[in-house]
Symmetry: C2
Subunit: 666 residues, 2 copies
């Protein structure tokens, strides 16, 4: 019987023909001649023996009658694949159905081998930065890696450095954020998040995940909050949302990346480009700006009326319990939207409109820009302006919910006596960031080249690890459990004035959340920054997806995929300023009895649950995401300090950026 | 002593390191370790022995002390090189000076080997479509050729087809002209023309060529005339010039090509992009649109005053004899311009402004678009609108010259009795065009891949060869010589009305010009279309630049380069219409005694002199280029038929396009 693990080798060198050698242990699929494409069938003897002498493993492929692949093959091999396009989603869904319906692993292997050189490589989900390095790095670096692979033997190869900032110059103020927008880890995170939270699938159960709509709102709200703190770290004002859809988009973006699948460059967007109605026949796209505006206006109407109209004409309340989740599914939108005809597909279409602004009618046969793909969208400054607008709509709903009362916020008998943050040997309550260079192996994505590792060396933000020390008094006389919630936000606004609570809450970035046991009397809680519930370690962001990978199609493999979701730990702390960015660190110990979800957590990867949830389980918090900052403060609370109940505390923290670069030790 | 021919091998695989194998006969340069770049010096043993076992020839390279290459190396290896940029021109000039000053071929070889991996590959003049295929073909085709090279052994490789039209769809009316704008031969011709007529060099003698200014005017006037006839062949109206420099450029262009040197895509231009002032510090470009407008206005002023002011304040008349040549050098401009401070650099800067419209301040670190390079500029619709405007300025001068008198036009005693044009077996005075597929070897430009030919198969316009038969009476009683001038233009305008002479003359395309001997009495002259003085044969347009190439630096090599200049014969006849484009064919036999230039023609390549001149000789015609259509007709002549003197004749010719494709037989 076929070994399921061999199926993984089909992801190797995705645009090379299937009979080429694969894997570190040189493996060749013995492909029936009838499975070869027309180009290679007449010369099958020659090409199949081409790699003959170095083969270590041969995988027999059974000749079976191949199911109808016309729909999956209707997307050309060298077209760009986008999940934002309904037509492409239908094609992907059909391919998944075909694979799922094969009766044995042998048959699955046969049809996968057959399909591999015929359907679009982007359909080979899961894919990742190692298989498609072109989505993450500069085309000039790709060329240098190609040279290194061809000229130098594997043992002597050196990493090729990705320049620190290559997409624009300091004449563009937005370019100061390059290290965030173009961070490999952040873009991988975004791709992973959408991989584990698809908004469409043939089986509704794949989409229906606990709080998926709320999670969509929250992850993007946090991205905007983090981006705005990074802007303060670069002397830039907060984002202005892209809300006037007929106005020009002032920011230009030139990605300088090639798509290896399409052999075409990712198209740029010039400064001051306007959106246009989309009328692209080949993509079955026929949407006007007016559609977006109507959907948006109906969503606002639902928010202001307090209910949504579902497809059967019933009112679905937008209440404290499920309102934000319903809105999330409506606005994204996913197939869980209560009424896609009425509320449309606002967020996805925003991506599509922006990504086709350069060729809205396909007159010039151009594919979409980086905003059209989840693995590249976060590189573009307009991503943040668009999501800032999406967040504004969510906040309109949140602002209409009743404020949390002191009673809801307090934890009777529990109080925080003090907080301190320490880096090893540094001054208390001072965080330090700097630049780090790290190497990742990209060789699996380099097609038509001699084998062996090729490393890209890239520069990213890093911070000194730190520890929170929290002194908590438990005056209840019994053991209690608390949910420790840690946030951070800037102290002052763009003019240097102390921020108002209603502004500051929207810049609160979540740093950690964990359960703690409180003995009667004073307790000292220590927690390391590397344990954050928001992040995954550097090694997991850039892990080798071959090593220790469970067999394809198993539950363990789905979990393995899930493990890649999580904010990259190297981006936990905003950059700060050379002279220090003044921030406030907020810690709350809430009553775990009100927050707890009783469920069995299985597997290893529930450690980045704040932004990613837990696989196939409930979101591990009964409070709303972002609690206690997701709503406007109660009446009379203008400043954060007035918001505090005894189970909360704040401390001033300074983030200092040191403009030095260190090489990561492996 | 070093063999000069080995220097040619340095053009092989221009972006691979110098020690890699070169040439069909596997040749390796034995490079001194000190010449290797920093990347390869530490592993010199490994890399130099890498190709060891298959080497057929080793070329020793002498270690000499290397002259100062700082200026040539100031242009980065992976920056795009453009002759339109003054800074780049200075760099190229310095490198030529260094090479010219080496004392022996051995020393030249050493410095060339040393410089090869250090200076920009674009500086390795001469270069050509085989070395830089990326400038001529679709990036998707490049990818497929890469696959073919890597996967298939040389003997089994198949040509990769360049799609007929890939840059845009029929939604764009301008796209109907793809076969002209994107023709490999036309773009090679344009590159060759500018190679043999540089507008700047350290030695003034390289620029000072007979009539170079007039030739600049004429070649581009003919390109516009030809382009307009092609527009009539596609039911499109004549070009509107790009004369309002602050208006948006309505045409967009997406070249879909990568630069292999820069590993970056050629930037597109979106529809309705406007020019902006250029302020690109790195390129030492600081020019405003107002500069272009001032230069243009001063040029017009000179035309209307009838003289130019040179740098010493002297008046240079813009007369019949040299006015057009002076204007050509002024407008292009070349270093022969009488006053570059006053009249500036209009045409070159137009290219530069348009090519940087997407990033005028270098904010986004973008290189120039296709308009910035002579090998790619003719792909872009705006090339024709810009040159249409440049031509309008030249025509303003021409319209102020006195019309040719009947006496100047006539050839007393010589008259044309009849004209006929025949294709083999076709109806008289009917020309036929169709599509042809041809293969060209691109392997020398494919770096980092196994060796062997890789062919690109491209589709181009072609026509059935034809013969002119001209009956001429010589009533002078003695042997005479005539200069036979053949032109063609459409009969009717866009509304189907017969054209006025003053419009038709600007659409007259030159087909041939040759000397004939006329015996007393009736003469029958036969001339084949393949003998045209405008064109060079297909084989020479796409010749293999290795085979039969004279030694580098010799006079024979300069002549060899020159031989590549000439309109491609496959584009001699405009496409025509399926139902037939009605044209008028004009033939004039002028008095060779008035036209002749007495000079010894040496070498083989004076056969495309109409657009290219003759190397190091005078332009072989004393009449103005375009004679007799370069000036307005004499008073009272509204139609071509009234223009005719007895030594002229016209005949109606129909160009019929058959929409079929044939494969060229090699």
């Amino acid at each position: 019987m076929a070994d399921k693990k061999n199926l993984l080798l089909l992801f190797d060198h995705p645009t090379e023909p299937v009979f080429m050698d694969k894997g570190k242990r040189v493996t060749v699929f013995d492909v029936p001649d009838s499975f070869l494409t027309d180009r290679y069938r007449p010369i099958s003897n020659e090409v199949q023996s081409r790699v003959g002498d170095k083969v270590e493993q041969r995988v027999p492929v059974r000749e079976i009658s191949i199911p109808d692949l016309r729909i999956p093959m209707s997307l050309g091999r060298d077209e760009q694949f986008s999940l934002f396009l309904p037509k492409h989603r239908r094609i992907a869904g059909r391919l998944i159905d075909i694979f799922m319906n094969m009766r044995s692993v042998d048959d699955l292997q046969s049809v996968a081998v057959y399909a591999r050189d015929r359907v679009n490589p982007g359909l080979d989900l899961p894919s990742f930065s190692q298989t498609f390095p072109d989505r993450f790095i500069d085309s000039q670096v790709i060329r240098k890696m190609r040279e290194e692979s061809f000229v130098v033997q594997p043992g002597s190869r050196m990493p090729i450095t990705i320049p620190r900032d290559y997409t624009a110059s300091d004449l563009d103020p937005e370019h100061r954020l390059w290290y965030f927008r173009e961070d490999l880890g952040i873009n991988l995170h975004h791709w992973h998040w959408h991989l584990v939270y698809p908004f469409e699938a043939s089986a509704r159960s794949i989409v229906t995940k606990d709080c998926r709509g709320e999670l969509f709102y929250y992850i993007h709200q946090q991205v905007i909050a983090r981006f705005n703190v990074e802007r303060f770290s670069n002397n830039l004002a907060r984002l202005l949302p892209f809300n006037n859809l007929s106005h020009p988009i002032s920011e230009g973006y030139f990605p300088k990346m090639d798509s290896l699948v399409a052999s075409r460059a990712w198209p740029p967007r010039f400064e001051s480009t306007r959106l246009s109605d989309l009328n692209r026949e080949a993509d079955q796209l026929n949407v006007e700006i007016g559609d977006l505006e109507r959907w948006r206006d109906r969503i606002y109407e639902a928010i202001h009326q307090g209910f949504v109209m579902d497809e059967r004409g019933n009112r679905v309340p937008l209440d404290e319990a499920t309102g934000i989740d319903t809105l999330g599914n409506m606005i994204e939108s996913s197939i869980l939207s209560p009424n896609r005809v009425l509320y449309g597909d606002l967020h996805n279409n925003g991506h599509t409109f922006i990504s086709y602004a350069h060729d809205p009618t396909s007159k010039h046969l151009e594919s979409f820009g980086v905003m059209g793909d989840v693995s590249t969208a976060m590189r573009d400054p307009v991503f943040y302006k668009w999501h800032s607008y999406i967040d504004r709509i969510f906040q309109e709903h949140k602002s209409r919910l009743p404020a949390y009362t002191e009673n809801q916020l307090n934890y009777s008998g529990v109080s925080i006596a003090g907080i301190q943050v320490d880096t090893n040997g540094g001054r208390p309550n001072n965080l330090t960031t700097f630049w780090q260079k790290s190497d990742v192996d990209m060789s699996r994505g380099f097609d038509f080249l001699p084998r062996g590792n090729v490393f890209a060396r890239f520069t990213h933000l890093q911070h000194l690890p730190f520890t929170y020390t929290i002194s908590v008094n438990n005056d209840s006389g019994a053991q209690r459990f608390g949910y420790v919630r840690i946030f951070m936000a800037p102290k002052n606004d763009e003019r240097g004035q102390p921020m108002l609570m209603r502004d500051q809450r929207s810049m609160m970035i979540e740093l950690d959340k964990f359960v703690t046991s409180l003995n009667p009397g004073p307790n000292t809680i220590r927690r390391r920054s590397t344990e954050s519930s928001v992040t995954i370690p550097f090694e997991r962001t850039f892990r080798n997806l071959d090593a220790n990978r469970p067999a394809a199609g198993t539950a363990e493999e789905l979990e393995f995929n899930f493990c890649g979701c999580g904010w990259p730990n190297h981006m936990l702390v905003p950059k700060g300023l050379p002279e220090g960015l003044q921030c406030v660190l907020f810690i709350m110990v809430s009553n775990y009895e009100n927050d707890r979800i009783d469920q069995q957590l299985v597997g290893r990867c529930s450690d980045a649950a704040s932004y990613c949830g837990v696989r196939d389980r409930l979101y591990p918090d009964r409070q709303s995401m972002g609690f206690p900052f997701d709503r406007l403060p109660r009446s009379g609370v203008d400043r954060l300090v007035n918001f505090l109940t005894p189970n909360m505390s704040i401390v001033d923290v300074t983030i200092r950026h040191e403009n030095r670069t260190v090489q990561r030790q492996n």
